[in-house]
């Protein structure tokens, strides 16, 4: 208990009137991270559920871990494929780890720095929301995004998408997606195209080598967008060295793409954890896939080109569809908050994402924009769901009279 004694000893310094009172929120954040607060209830219920905001966020982070690890492995895998070097499992993973870890650190340091400062200014406790956002940001970016860009985008999105609205719980748009959208529109050359999805240079001296002839770093969806093949049956997705990609490759995540999005298998593992613990809404997840399935099925029937002919399974395995459905659409703050609303909200995300993918020549991927678009409409959806309840109540009163 010596740590506890130490905390108790320094605590007065951080309280009102203490030497470091301006670090009160910071102290509180670390103390509550180490120990469950011993504050007891003053009014209302005398007992409380053991689940708090920290527990909730920790579950989400756990759910993200499989996708993160698979993403790291894939970064190494794609790299060694590009430079044509045979590398062992550990070496491959280590390359990815070293590539991604600095990005996570930068995102956390910048984002949490701002969060701590804002909490301190408002004399509030530090909210845990950014622990998730901060991990999501590097996971939805191309691996070659420069660190300074991650810092700028994180700062922009934490300040302008979250803190100006009042902090965690009050934001309208998903913080991680705003960071990505910011980079997407501010630095398009670093966010799309063929050059950003595979790291070809060495990382901290590891994995140097020359890129093989015929290398192309285009993502599968990118390939389809620029292809002039008219029938999907004649089209084949290629890996970065020209080898054909199988559905299995796409499922386990050995394709070029944003770090966390590639492995549908790992995302499904995360989804299972979110659903079993009740932290993520299965209704939202399922309805995103329903929306996608519905739209793709419709387009398959009306198909005019290869992209419109692509079957639903490819849509779900490629790009950020699964990742968006499981981790982004389910963000409770920016999603519809009513249960009926979640069905509508998720379904429309699926619809819009597929429409952008297929009909917008500029953007091969539509998930990010679809979710941000529906974030804006979530309150409207809720309004109509709640309004139905209000109408029912008014009608009941009218019948009585």
């Amino acid at each position: 208990m010596s740590l506890r004694k130490f905390l108790d000893k320094i605590k007065p310094n951080f309280e009102e009137g203490g030497k470091f009172h301006w670090l009160n929120s910071t102290y509180d954040a670390f103390e509550t991270f180490l120990y469950v607060p011993n504050k007891t209830s003053k009014s209302g219920v005398h007992i409380h559920d053991a689940r708090d905001s920290k527990r909730t966020m920790v579950i989400v982070i756990l759910a993200l871990i499989p996708a993160l690890l698979m993403g790291m492995y894939n970064v190494g895998y794609q790299h060694y494929l590009a430079v044509n070097v045979q590398a062992g499992f550990m070496e491959t993973f280590l390359y990815g780890l070293l590539a991604i870890l600095p990005q996570i650190v930068v995102s956390y340091v910048v984002g949490l720095g701002i969060e701590f400062a804002m909490a301190q200014m408002k004399k509030e406790e530090v909210a845990e929301g950014f622990l998730v956002s901060g991990l999501l940001i590097p996971m939805i970016l191309p691996v070659d995004t420069p660190l300074w860009m991650i810092a700028v985008a994180t700062a922009f999105s934490v300040i302008f998408a979250k803190e100006v609205f009042g902090g965690t719980g009050y934001n309208i748009f998903n913080v991680a997606l705003i960071a990505r959208a910011f980079l997407f529109f501010a630095y398009p050359s670093k966010m799309s195209g063929d050059q950003v999805w595979v790291r070809t240079a060495d990382t901290f001296g590891l994995g140097g080598g020359n890129v093989v002839d015929g290398f192309s770093g285009a993502t599968p969806l990118g390939q389809l967008a620029v292809s002039d093949v008219s029938r999907f049956g004649d089209f084949s997705f290629l890996g970065i060295t020209g080898n054909p990609l199988s559905l299995w490759d796409m499922f386990i995540g050995l394709t070029p793409g944003s770090v966390g999005e590639v492995s549908t298998l790992a995302i499904l593992l995360g989804a299972v954890l979110l659903i079993v613990t009740g932290v993520g809404s299965w209704k939202t997840m399922l309805s995103v896939f329903f929306g996608g399935l519905f739209t793709v099925a419709l387009l398959n029937v009306l198909a005019q080109n290869a992209a419109m002919e692509m079957p639903p399974l490819y849509h779900f395995l490629l790009g950020g569809f699964a990742f968006g459905a499981v981790f982004m659409a389910t963000d409770p703050v920016t999603s519809a908050r009513t249960e009926k609303g979640k069905w509508i909200y998720g379904f429309l995300i699926g619809v819009v994402a597929i429409l952008i993918r297929i009909f917008n020549p500029g953007y091969p991927e539509g998930m990010m924009l679809a979710i941000l678009f529906m974030n804006a409409f979530a309150p409207l959806i809720d309004f109509y769901v709640v309004d139905a309840n209000i109408k029912r109540r008014l009608k009941r009163a009218a019948v009585k009279k």
Binding site: M1, R4, D28, T32, F33, L34, Y35, V36, P37, N38, K39, T40, S41, K42, S43, G44, V45, H46, I47, H48, D49, A50, R51, D52, S53, K54, R55, T56, M57, V58, I59, E125, A127, G129, G166, G167, T168, G169, Y170, V276, T277, G278, V279, S281, P332, V333, S335, R337, T338, E339, D382, V386, N389, I390, R392, R393, L394, R396, A397, K400
Partner: protein
């Protein structure tokens, strides 16, 4: 056969310390204390001063808004203290009890022959009107307004709740008399809600009332839930609500002509050595009872009522006016649990699945187990809130004090206790019951 309504949403919190169905005797104390804050919505005006002698049933104070509404002394004796708090608000009135309780004789009466107005007057004058509450606002009923219907709750589903079957045993005649009196006070119906497991014939075969069975987890036994399923309150309507053991006071007044505020009370909670039922007057000091029956380990929290809606009292506190239950749980302020967010401890209980449920019953303490946050998680309140109301949206409209929205979303139908489970499960640790109480009080001020 009574109609049966099934409630699906809700939560039975598995706590240690259920009351054993054994009667363990009568508790008396030298001093009896009445706390005006127990009578929601009444502004007290004193009828007595220190040194006065009173009989049991004689008024201690009356309501400023309705000067004919008295509140009776549970015991005969001498007023020894009147404690005041901020702004001279009366905190409590202490009466030193006589050896032998002497009652004011209000006269026996056959309810059938009395007109409604006479029944109303007698209840007000005898000082037991406070057992009748009203919706909207969840306050002591306004005697000037005729209720559309009256709802009587015949069972309790709260954590470690006492069995009304047990409490009412042998008092069926008083219960029925009370129900008869209530039936005269409304042009509508008297609804009596019972548990499907109720064996008590006084409840199951009650006359003059519409009996409905409610099946399901807490808050199936809350009157707010029952009203919402039977006949919801609309704007402009008033209904009255009572608990079946409260109806006994009314029955005794007419059957015996006296105000007998004796309650059968369950002593419950994980820190109680021997649980069971005791009979005592409202306001009885509990020092002796707690001293004998409570284990001495660590800091404790003594509650008059249940863990969701009860009032915190000290070890030397008294039985509050509206409660049939006493609960003792650990306070928990001496516990420092490391890395709670990563904990796999089987001692932690959560309604959801972010913790494994490894035990059948839990010893929970009074810690918040987290810091206050903005509302983040959705569909959390809905899962434990069976009313046809959007709880989160209603709470937000109260916080914004948007009267139109509050009305539209059903503020008139709810009481703070309906939000108790929401408050328990809330990840953001918000004081929902306090928010609802404040909202109701402000709205009442605005509307009346």
């Amino acid at each position: 056969m009574a109609n049966r309504i099934k409630i699906k949403k809700g939560l039975q919190i598995p706590l240690l310390g259920k009351p054993e169905e054994t009667f363990r005797g009568r508790i008396t104390s030298e001093y009896v204390q009445v706390c005006p804050e127990d009578f929601q919505g009444i502004t007290p005006k004193l009828k007595v001063k220190v040194g006065d002698t009173v009989k049991a049933g004689q008024p201690l104070f009356f309501s400023k808004m309705h000067p004919d509404m008295m509140v009776a002394s549970p015991v005969s004796g001498t007023v020894t203290a009147i404690d005041r708090g901020e702004k001279r608000r009366i905190l409590n009135i202490t009466v030193k009890a006589d050896k032998e309780n002497v009652y004011v004789d209000y006269g026996k009466a056959a309810i059938d022959t009395l007109p409604a107005e006479e029944i109303r007057k007698r209840l007000l004058a005898a000082g037991i009107w406070f057992v009748i509450k009203q919706r909207p606002y969840d306050v002591v009923a306004d005697p000037g307004k005729e209720p559309r219907d009256i709802f009587v709750t015949g069972f309790d589903t709260a954590p470690l709740a006492p069995s009304y079957d047990f409490i009412l045993k042998g008092q069926e005649a008083d219960l029925q008399a009370g129900l008869n009196a209530l039936a005269k006070l409304t042009p509508g119906k008297v609804y009596l809600s019972i548990s499907p497991d109720t064996k008590n014939e006084g409840l199951r075969k009650a006359e003059n009332v519409t009996v409905t069975e409610f099946e399901g987890p807490h808050p199936a036994g809350n009157t707010g839930t029952q009203i919402n399923y039977l006949a919801p309150v609309n704007r402009g309507e008033v209904v009255w609500t009572l608990n079946a053991p409260d109806v006994l006071f009314i029955g005794r007044l007419f059957n015996r002509g006296v105000v007998d505020l004796t309650r059968t009370v369950a002593l419950t909670g994980s820190e109680v050595k021997q649980t069971g039922y005791y009979s005592m007057l409202v306001g009885t000091e509990l020092t002796g009872l707690f001293a004998e029956n409570v284990s001495g380990k660590g800091n404790l929290r003594h509650i008059s009522g249940n863990v969701l809606t009860g009032t915190r009292i000290e070890a030397g506190g008294v039985l509050r006016a509206t409660h049939f239950q006493l609960t003792v749980i650990p306070e928990g302020d001496d516990v420092h649990e490391a890395f709670g967010w990563a904990s796999l401890s089987p001692k932690r209980y959560s309604a959801g699945a972010t913790y494994l449920k490894l035990k059948k019953a839990y010893r929970l303490d009074a810690r918040l187990l987290g810091g206050p946050r903005a509302i983040i998680v959705s569909n959390e309140y809905d899962k434990v809130f069976p009313l046809d109301i959007f709880p989160e949206q209603l709470i937000k409209s109260i916080l914004a004090f948007n009267i139109d929205k509050m009305e539209q979303l059903g503020i008139y139908e709810v009481a703070p206790e309906d939000f108790a489970l929401c408050e328990f499960v809330d990840t953001s640790k918000l004081e929902l019951q306090r928010i609802v109480r404040t909202g109701l009080d402000m709205l009442r001020k605005e509307m009346e």
